[in-house]
Subunit: 161 residues, 2 copies
Amino acid sequence: MKFMDISEVSKQTGIAASAIRHYEEKGLITSVGRRGLKRLFGPDVLDQLALITLGKTGGFSLEEIKAMFGPDGRPALSRPGLHQKADDLDRQIQTLEALRDMIRHVADCPAPSHMECPKFQQLIRISGRRKRGERSARHAKPSDRFPLAADHHRLEKNKMS
Amino acid sequence: MKFMDISEVSKQTGIAASAIRHYEEKGLITSVGRRGLKRLFGPDVLDQLALITLGKTGGFSLEEIKAMFGPDGRPALSRPGLHQKADDLDRQIQTLEALRDMIRHVADCPAPSHMECPKFQQLIRISGRRKRGERSARHAKPSDRFPLAADHHRLEKNKMS
DNA sequence: CTACAAATTCAAGTCGACTTGAGGTCAATA
DNA sequence: TATTGACCTCAAGTCGACTTGAATTTGTAG
């Protein structure tokens, strides 16, 4: 009773079978073998899928997740690379805390427009005071609340070549 | 000197002009008028764009951001709706903290495979103990680490019809 | 032994958030 | 006044992460 077919894994995790196949294709998980055509998964896959779900919540791409927690269990990323990711997460967490506070404020503030509320304005300013190297859910940020964002005269191409 | 053209806004914020136009099209910001063909923006747009950037970091879609902080300054979302978003964020923050801890652990743990490390295993279990209603960066989650995820017999269609 | 539900592959489609490109318009210089 | 360069519009393209559909292949239940 150790091995599960894909529908069992799907049931246990709530992840669609098509997505599970997709993760296997991309090398994030591996099946232990086949019974006929059908994939068989070991119990470890449940933890790996939990990790994938977690990573996605953090806005990481499947590639990044694979680099951090590959199915082999050995990260493809260097130790400093991993610490970098962790530091990015710390910054993202702070951003999220700021955002949460602003949303709560908007919910409760009696001002007709939150933009007119001095407290809200202040929250925006605070949120801008982050260090460099911000990382967002999906693609990296060139600048966070424009701390002298205009590195040079960039006239449309704000992306790396 | 109050009004800026799009390239000025782009320089100040680091956001591509094409993206700024896109936000205007989607109704997240508004320009104060035109000089000939060219859009003119007031200074407020800088705060609004900072808010958009912030929202995206939180994994919100442009639609959601618009509902929370529309350019009119009045949220389209009800007070409970907003508190819901804030609570979602709180949960997301906890998830991110767990993820950060795991990444740091992977970086420092001497075990050949993190999956074999009992401490790591433990971190995964902990991360699974969240409440319902998780929201991820991009599309909602049906279940987080499968706390009896199989609501019924769902045999592939894990998405709303 | 046959039927059938459940899996499989592979190609194509979808969705959000932009970007890119072609062709057009203007306000400010030279 | 004639250029020019920044901006404009609109259509189409891109990218990641899947989903969907059509055409097969099984293992198992009847």
